[in-house]
Symmetry: C2
Subunit: 231 residues, 2 copies
């Protein structure tokens, strides 16, 4: 939709990968709509995943006992977080929609993207304690996980060896995005692109592109247990 701002946080090493193609499709379709699209290409940026005292550029509030959470909160308030964090926070702040594009590593995000979440979504920027109960600071923003898997859709079903794909979404969609106030759109899961035909891969890209045409009309999904666990 013209005027909307989209941030794509992209975590794949190879531009010609299927993840790279999904990212490109999103950039193309959203740009065509008149959206402003920004990409954080984490591997190309050599983004730092480790949460350390290097993230604070001014004196620590307690140099004798380092607590990352406490110091990040203080540094956030004093605007003294390191610039790579502040740059990402600005991109999130300006975005109407944040798309995370990544391959599933161990039922979760790759470490480089986990580091983005650990460092960028700090207290003071993305939430304040206690969180949940609609107190996250990123309200009014949409988030969407676009994921590729090694396993097939059948493996990620309730009776499959990997269990329902909703199970692995819980820490990301509920524990992270919902906590920060995002409204979460349904995940876009491209199952086992390595193991399907070229034709099917093209179909996956086309359906992602098609979905993006009406993405601004979508309703968020519930981020509470029944959706995840079918209870």
């Amino acid at each position: 939709m013209a005027g909307k701002k989209v941030l794509i946080v992209y975590a794949h090493q190879e531009p010609r990968s299927f993840n790279g193609s999904l990212k490109k499709v999103a950039v193309d379709e959203l740009s065509k709509q008149g959206c402003t699209v920004t990409v954080s290409d984490l591997y190309a940026m050599d983004f730092e995943p480790r949460a350390t005292r290097k993230d604070m550029t001014s004196a620590l509030s307690n140099p004798e006992f380092f607590s990352y959470g406490v110091e990040a909160y203080e540094a956030c308030k004093k605007l003294s977080l390191t610039s790579d964090i502040i740059d990402e926070q600005k991109k999130v702040q300006e975005a109407d929609l944040v798309i995370f594009q990544f391959p599933l590593y161990w039922f979760s995000v790759p470490a480089i993207l986990k580091g983005w979440m650990d460092r960028v979504l700090c207290q003071g920027f993305a939430f304040d304690i206690p969180g949940f109960d609609d107190s996250g600071f990123l309200q009014g923003k949409l988030a969407l996980l676009s994921i590729t898997t090694g396993g097939t859709a059948e493996m990620y079903s309730k009776t499959g060896v990997s269990g329902d794909f909703r199970y692995f979404l819980w820490p990301l969609q509920h524990g992270t995005l919902h906590f920060c106030g995002f409204k979460v759109l349904a995940p876009q899961i491209s199952f086992a692109p390595e193991f399907v035909s070229e034709e099917e891969r093209k179909g996956m890209l086309a359906s992602w592109s098609q979905r993006l045409k009406t993405i601004w009309k979508e309703e968020p999904i519930p981020c509470t247990p029944p959706w995840y666990f079918g209870q």
Copy 2:
């Protein structure tokens, strides 16, 4: 138990933290039993979390199209993974029990520990496809997650705002450890150590130490859905 080997993969920045104390308690108690205890202190090692082509020290099998999973598998077979990965794999290979000691970050492990999982537990070392069905290579080994949380036990109950703590364990215990063949012992969760009294913190350390006295007699927990989701 005398003669047993234990690896503690430890992810906290501050030696004087409660995580540091839990680690120290484990080293002390297990050493006293006559175990050989090795600690991988990830922040002190400045452990690399990013999965990149720097992890392969010989020519890539496909330099035109980089697939981390494919190249790590090939490099593993050719013994040409980078030395920090091989060092950790050796420690895992020798261990009877691997304890992961970390604070919960976004319902999961800190990025530095996620990177350890992404890079160390590669195909060819920890599993071969398809995985599950007891085909993981790390069979005969025990694994245990020792976690500190910000939230209270009540928050991590089925009706609490954070949901049952078993939900966030799924990607780690089922999706990662069980997949690799580990037998998983019950997690040791120290809830909200920051928000309890000094007395209660001492109680948590004592109960961890006490548990470790009989750790070798424990039965593994189930790593399949009913335990996680109460279905």
